[in-house]
Subunit: 388 residues, 2 copies
């Protein structure tokens, strides 16, 4: 059966663009070559930038490439590598394909540059070791990205021109796809790093602010964990799945929910005696103060709602605005329940901590009053599953 | 002169991968087509995901595409678009190329589906409006990314098969390249957003902590600005350019340099009287406390040095470790000078602020003693340029 290489190339290019993991991509390419071109084996040597050497990344086929130990990594001064790196291929080969038989003929001619000849002979020797008959380079700009090595065809015939054209075009697409995959990988890892940096810095600063309030040590970390657990439980129970963006916002909002406490004097926060009405009023300002602090951060628009309204009550009896029922943003509703639960299960100067069981009873009592029913149910369910 | 389309394609593909800006990329492609294929005009219609319509993004050639007003944007129900969107091209065309003359013959045959025929006739009418004779679609998975429209050849001849093959292969590469460019753009913009979010949150939290210390209101913001100015001035003067990563770290370190003050009681920070030796000792702990707070954040390893050592002195008389000269990390050296300069030019309970001129005289006096000479010079130079 004759293969339509033009179509194969198009289909390969179209598949390659979907793959953004370099390793998967390279494996896929090697498999395609072995299957379509029906060679005994194929291998791809890929540049390792950090060590400036070339590594046999994949080897496919009935026997794989025959690689003697010590040859799985080649330095830049290996003759096969330096033949292409120094662009001797431009002087010696047509079309950029290194075909063993033809290259051997050229090496035996007298009229080529002795330096080129020496490297070429070394390269031929490498090909013999690999039992490779064709070698095709992939360049990105002027940098040698890798080499494609092919064994003999299973049919025993020589490679036809359309096959060689296919390999050259494929090598060029491969370079493009690999380069893109690497870039993609780099960018997504940068993105992950930035997200971690953001979250970790927020955690550190929130914890530092938390530490000012002697009675609520570790409170922020616990509220954050419980809030995220509640959100996941709601998603699980009601198929009302919160997306990743919501969970990210909830994470940040929980971390920052008490940030406004930085505006309350330590003397009030750490007071052992009963608070005066004036002091209580001061404490009740913390959601508003917190909102003022993070208001300028446009990217936190939804997280801000969690900070602002985490002391509202389902029955409308909360502060700062006395919002009621579904008027309260869900992000605030979740933090509010987590906040109350953690407060109940922590010691205070004027009372001992409740047990988890006792706190859950309070949540049941407060369902539809202080707490949004759905969120109360989620907390109760987490308790039943022993996940609190 | 005959054109080697295989070579053209390879070179186009290789250039395309270097361009990550979608707009530049598309312009480049249209220019290549007009020049290489010698057509009167060429245009590219590109999918606008948000509005689900197709927009004439570029138009190149002697006269450009002849676009009547109102046709620069086509909705998905436009017959030319829906012909390809509904994949009628698979039923009617070979090779995926829409050639006006051939499509017209097909439209006049009786045996095709009446619905397809209707859309095809509408598409032909669109082509007439555009004076286009060839139309080639670009798909990404099953989504119609765009259409390439070509006017007549300047030679007046019909397009040859190798030209059409070139366009089809080009359209496939174009889809790949545009998709990658869009992905790249999306990722880098995400990255920018995350960086802004991180910096803005750090600014907000640092400012909130700053506000606890009544005497140093706005101090953090000023030190940050002066530190970055010093770093830029050093780069400018000594060709000893700090890279972007360093400036980013310096930015964060300046924002966080006094974060440890959160561990100092407000009663000490805001005291009007002279501080006791014990209170001074407490205040001197703030670089160490700050370091403890951000220590867990691996990504901030260099920024931490700025927080930890911003009270060291060039002559070794500083704290917490009494480091000397070049032992003090450059990031800390810069913050230290900016910090001292801002302290001098701010009012304190026990003294009025110095003028900028007076503060610069102090810096001169302290050069090589409190201050690293290079950093002192940079501050003096900023003063001469009126940039303080």
């Amino acid at each position: 059966m004759k293969i339509n290489y033009k179509k194969e190339l198009e289909s390969a290019a179209k598949t390659m663009i979907l793959v953004h993991d370099p390793t998967t991509l390279i494996k896929m390419i090697a498999r395609t070559i072995v299957n379509k071109a029906r060679v005994h084996h194929a291998g791809i040597l890929l540049h390792d930038k950090e060590k400036d050497s070339y590594i046999l990344t994949v080897s496919r086929g009935t026997a794989g490439l025959k690689i003697p130990s010590g040859f799985a990594r080649m330095d830049s001064d290996n003759p096969l590598i330096s033949f292409f790196k120094k662009r001797f291929d431009k002087q010696v080969l047509d079309d950029g394909v290194f075909i063993y038989g033809e290259a051997k003929k050229i090496a035996n001619k007298r009229k080529i540059d002795p330096q080129v000849k020496k490297v070429l002979k070394g390269a031929l020797y490498q090909m013999e070791i690999f039992e490779a008959v064709v070698c095709i380079p992939s360049y990105y700009r002027d940098e040698l990205l890798g080499l494609l090595l092919l064994g003999k065809k299973k049919s025993g015939k020589k490679f036809a021109q359309d096959e060689l054209d296919f390999f050259v075009a494929l090598a060029s697409d491969v370079a493009m796809a690999i380069q893109n995959a690497l870039l993609f990988k780099e960018l997504t890892s940068e993105l992950d790093k930035k997200q971690r940096l953001f979250i970790h810095t927020t955690i550190a600063l929130a914890a530092a602010i938390d530490a000012k309030d002697h009675y609520t040590h570790g409170h922020t970390a616990r509220v954050t964990r419980i809030s995220l657990d509640i959100a996941k439980e709601i998603s699980l129970r009601n198929n009302h799945r919160f997306d990743d963006k919501f969970l990210e916002d909830l994470h940040v909002a929980s971390l920052l929910h008490d940030i406004g406490k930085i505006g309350i004097p330590e003397s009030i926060l750490n007071k052992n005696d009963k608070l005066t009405p004036e002091e209580i009023c001061k404490i009740k300002q913390h959601p508003t103060v917190g909102t003022t602090i993070i208001q300028p951060i446009r990217e936190l628009d939804r997280a801000i709602l969690g900070v602002k309204y985490h002391h509202e009550r389902f029955d409308g009896g909360g502060y700062p605005e006395g919002l009621k029922g579904e008027e309260i943003p869900i992000i605030a509703v979740i933090i509010s329940a987590a906040d109350a639960f953690d407060a109940m299960t922590s010691d205070r100067p004027y009372r001992k901590a409740l047990t988890t069981k006792q706190a859950i009873d309070e949540i049941k009592q407060g369902k539809g009053k202080q707490f949004h029913p759905e969120v109360a149910e989620a907390l109760i369910s987490l308790h039943h599953k022993n996940q609190l």
